[in-house]
């Protein structure tokens, strides 16, 4: 029997080991054991989350395509493939290279599906910038994303950056990538056809990240420093060549299937391709291009060296394929064949070192995890507004909020990213969502990522629903019809029942919200064990969403445009301060209930705005999110990098809402609210549209002037707003 400390080191427990022996009917070889350990890890086999993930809707208003590695939708003759993935732990220890290789991994998932990567987004979360290490992380992560993405020539067009104590010691780096291709050129991750060749293409294999995914992504930080990942140096140049060569190869029509060697490298790609193709596979490790000497079989099988892929090629076409890779100075060698059984057989130095049914590897055990509401939730949810003093000077509050790093302009971040390469970005970062044209088509794409994890901490079900609703709202404000979701579920240790309770409720929130919007979840990623010695991160189910603009010329941006335009607020403002940025920044509290969300009302507001934009009625649309109405108005005034413009919010609006606390009116984060502006002559039509959709609609003021005025409450010149909002992040970095 294999010694206990060996399988434990691989992250397997006693039951799992026994099950493996039972499946094999004998003692597993070290290579086999290593293969099981990675395939059954949370990262690959999802044993602790699979059953819940199965609840996500797989269909919606656009035809969905759910593949092995990534998913997407079809629109007209085009497949739009997209996915989000985490690279949290590597980034925490080596921010630049950790983030860089994260970008590399997610982009590989896109082009292995046969799609040309056309855009990326990044969703980032750090502890407060007052701590030097968090500043180091922010700078390093942004540098890494820029280093990799810019070099590849895939524009990073959007994302988000949040700051919260819970991420000190465990930052989150979630990267999303989007690609497109003609419908019929999609590639699948499968191998079949006895005698077809298995080719290894890309970079060579070293001892990089061995056991990285199973061992590292399955443990908390602080459990033992020696488990630190062997961070890799990203190689965007090789990946760029790999993209070109891969797309050239797929165009030959000689490829049966293809999969990237990401987490768990060759093990995962070979076993899963064979299993998906209901075939067997035999590979010979002596043929694998190695960059280090004396590597053992299990090391080759588990290596996570970057920039490599496995391809099933039609028999007789191997040379043609290998020539393409030669042209790009990359490896392209045959390492095996498809066989007529259903086993994955691995040979090395003349010996069979592994022989396993792919079925057994692919069927990771399924665990029902215990869950329980956290003991402190009731206390957190208690908030007596009477104990919260209303600040006398709302101007000062607004300036403080605008310069809170979570709300402040993220220009410092996205100006380091090439967000224009490929010349498709028609709405640049800095508006609610970025919009891409597709050359030669009338339609376009919008993309965003969103999640307010404080809401999820206070109410995971509603918080996750709000993340979905807000993402959709951001797309609608840009003129797009929300189409499909990818997610990255970042949580603490699932073996702790309170953490799992959060996970379960967030998943249910996403399920129900997506059903309400009639959009599918086409891809995603789970990242557990995000904890530092101080505890778990806030539950963070990041939502990535794409939307379709039937006519990209009708796109819309968030900033006010013309003097004299009428400003209209759609939706209802309630006395809601729970979980708000205001409560945190001004009163130092994270407490209360997350804002209410009525999905029917949310849909109605979105429908009204979408239709208004389609009819060409609006000059701007911006939703109210962190910081509430006052912050959203300030952003409408100053977020256009070329031209700030003031606005005047009239007294009748303030009087009409005088039953609300003024801090709730200005800074409360009631959901389902959108600020729009239009020229005077279109106001009646806009109001009629709102009415037809039963959406509360108030004319609240006028665009123009050199300041933001909210009668009797706020009066600030544009340059002060601008300095607070634009200058804040730069102060720290």
């Amino acid at each position: 029997m294999v010694e206990r400390n060996i399988y434990c080191a691989l992250g397997l427990n006693d039951q799992e080991y026994q099950k493996i022996e039972q499946i094999m009917g004998r003692e597993p070889s070290s290579t086999e054991l290593a293969m099981f350990s990675v395939e059954w890890s949370e990262h690959c086999g999802y044993p602790r989350s699979r059953s819940l993930l199965g609840l996500f809707p797989k269909e919606g208003k656009y035809q969905a395509m759910i593949g092995e590695d990534s998913g997407g939708i079809f629109y007209a003759d085009t497949a739009i493939v997209f996915k989000m993935e985490s690279h949290n732990h590597p980034s925490q220890v080596e921010p630049k290279q950790g983030a860089a290789t994260g970008v590399g991994g997610i982009i590989r998932d896109i082009f292995t599906a046969g799609a040309k990567p056309i855009a990326s987004l990044d969703s980032l979360r750090f502890g407060p910038l007052t701590e030097p290490y968090n500043r180091f992380l922010l700078k390093g992560v942004v540098d890494g994303i820029a280093f990799y993405g810019n070099c590849l020539g895939v524009p990073t067009v959007g994302g988000e950056v949040y700051f919260d104590e819970s991420y000190s010691g465990n930052c989150l780096v979630n990267a999303m990538s989007i690609g497109i291709c003609p419908k019929d050129q999609l590639a699948r991750a499968r191998a079949f056809g006895v005698g077809n060749s298995i080719m290894y293409v890309g970079s060579s294999t070293g001892r990089d990240g061995i056991g990285g995914c199973s061992v590292l992504a399955s443990h908390e930080f602080g459990e033992g420093e020696e488990k630190r990942p062997t961070v890799q140096i990203g190689d965007p140049f090789t990946e760029k060549c790999l993209i070109e060569a891969t797309l050239e190869m797929l165009a030959t029509g000689h490829v049966v299937g293809i999969k990237d060697m990401g987490a768990a490298g060759l093990t995962c790609s070979s076993a899963e391709m064979a299993h998906a193709g209901e075939s067997g596979m035999e590979i010979d490790l002596d043929k694998v291009p190695l960059r280090e000497e004396g590597m053992e079989a299990y090391e080759i099988m588990m290596s996570e060296s970057q920039e490599r892929m496995l391809v099933c090629v039609k028999k007789g076409k191997e040379e043609e394929i290998s020539d393409i890779f030669k042209k790009w100075d990359l490896h392209g060698v045959v390492i095996g064949q498809v066989t007529d059984d259903k086993n994955i057989r691995v040979k090395y130095q003349g010996k069979v070192v592994a022989d396993i049914q792919t079925e057994a590897l692919a069927k990771a055990p399924l665990y029902q995890m215990p869950f329980q509401e956290p003991a402190n939730l009731k206390v957190m949810n208690t908030l007596d507004l009477k104990t919260i003093p209303i600040p006398a000077d709302s101007n000062q509050v607004l300036l403080s909020l605008l310069s809170s790093p979570t709300i402040a302009s993220k220009e410092w971040v996205y100006e380091q990213y090439d967000h224009m390469v490929q010349t498709n970005t028609t709405v640049l970062p800095g508006s609610d969502a970025s919009v891409l044209r597709i050359k030669g088509k009338e339609w376009g794409l919008a993309a965003t990522s969103d999640c307010n994890s404080r809401y999820c901490l206070l109410d995971p079900y509603r918080g996750a629903q709000i993340a979905v609703a807000e993402a959709a709202r951001n797309l609608v404000c840009s003129g797009a019809d929300p189409a499909a979701v990818t997610d990255c579920l970042n949580f603490g240790n699932p073996e702790k029942p309170d953490r799992y309770w959060y996970f379960k409720n967030c998943v249910m929130g996403i399920v129900d919200a997506c059903k309400a919007f009639n959009i599918p979840v086409v891809s995603g990623n789970v990242s557990f064990y995000n904890e530092s010695p101080k505890g778990a991160i806030n539950p963070t189910p990041t939502i990535g969403m794409i939307g379709i603009l039937p006519d990209v010329a009708k796109r819309c941006t968030q900033y006010f445009k013309d003097d004299g335009d009428v400003i209209i607020l759609l939706g209802e403002t309630k006395e809601e301060l729970g979980g708000s940025e205001y409560l945190k920044v001004i009163h130092g509290k994270v407490a209360g209930q997350a804002p209410e969300l009525d999905l029917l009302k949310e849909k109605a507001v979105q429908k009204a705005v979408y239709e208004a934009i389609q009819q060409g009625l609006l000059n701007s649309a911006h939703d109210c999110s962190e910081g509430g109405l006052a912050v959203a108005l300030a952003e409408c005034c100053v977020s256009n990098r070329d031209k700030a413009i003031g606005s005047n919010i009239n007294s009748s609006f303030v009087i009409r809402n005088s039953s609300l606390r003024k801090d709730a009116l200005l800074f409360g984060e009631s959901q389902s609210r959108i600020i729009i502006s239009c020229s005077k002559d279109k106001t009646a039509k806009v109001e009629a549209l709102a009415k037809a959709n039963q959406v509360p609609c108030q004319k609240i003021g006028q665009v123009g002037g050199e300041s933001l005025k909210i009668e009797g409450l706020i009066d600030l010149p544009l340059n002060k707003l601008n300095d607070a909002w634009r200058g804040a992040l730069k102060q720290y970095v």
Binding site: K240, C241, W328, H419, M420, V421, T426
Partner: protein, 225 residues
């Protein structure tokens, strides 16, 4: 009239330049793989932006030794039009077709952003459709666009009126606010900002288009149709 867009491994604005030549100014254009040689059939060569060889040693340093560069040097010496944009500019510097060198941006960051440029010279094949002194908006996107040249070299550039574009507000530390220069014969242009990113109304600005139109106009005037 035929344009060629050179493709090095790591070039990433090749398709963007190709698109503008083909679909915006509507001229014949072909990609040229860096391992090829010979440019006999071309009238204008575009060296596009990107990260040739990852810029792993120094921007443009490795690409400069690609087989095609020997041909580009010959082509330029014979008076052919060569425009290097961003990484293309860096390659031209490394190849010695233009004087000076690039250092890292003063703030050490990659900067992707629209910047204002002042058109300083219109008597070149690349800038004749602008007005002298005109201010145009064209995006930058680079890490190493901090142009360096010693005092003597700068005096030469000025004396020969070789500075074609200057930054209105210097974003990267470039000597004398230089954003783009030509060689003495005025047939080779290097510039850091990306005109191909602002040649269509969909992309916020069309201020880059006159560069491509100037080239087309010049080639027509010189009998290349």
């Amino acid at each position: 009239m035929k344009f060629g867009v050179i493709v090095f491994p790591g070039s990433n604005c090749d398709q963007d330049c190709f698109h503008v030549v083909k679909n915006v100014v509507k001229q014949p254009v072909e990609y040229i793989w860096h391992k090829n040689t010979g440019l006999d059939n071309f009238d204008c060569v575009v060296i596009p932006g990107g990260f040739s060889y990852g810029d792993y040693l120094r921007c443009g340093a490795i690409a400069r030794f690609s087989p095609i560069m020997e041909s580009v040097i010959k082509f330029a010496k014979a008076g052919g039009l060569v425009i290097g944009i961003c990484n293309g500019f860096q390659v031209l510097l490394e190849a010695g077709l233009l004087p000076g060198a690039m250092l890292r941006n003063k703030n050490l960051h990659f900067i992707c952003k629209f910047v204002e440029l002042k058109v300083e010279a219109t008597d070149t094949p690349f800038s004749s459709k602008y007005k002298k002194g005109e201010i145009v908006r064209i995006p930058n996107a680079h890490n190493e666009g901090n142009y360096y040249i010693d005092d003597k070299g700068l005096a030469e550039l000025k004396k020969n009126n070789q500075i074609v574009f200057r930054y209105v507000s210097n974003p990267n530390g470039a000597v004398d606010d230089i954003a783009g220069i030509v060689n003495q014969k005025r047939n080779v242009l290097g510039m850091m900002p990306h005109p191909e990113r602002c040649s269509e109304a969909e992309l916020t600005s069309t201020d880059g288009r006159p560069i491509f139109e100037s080239i087309v106009g010049w080639l027509k005037q010189h009998g290349r149709t």
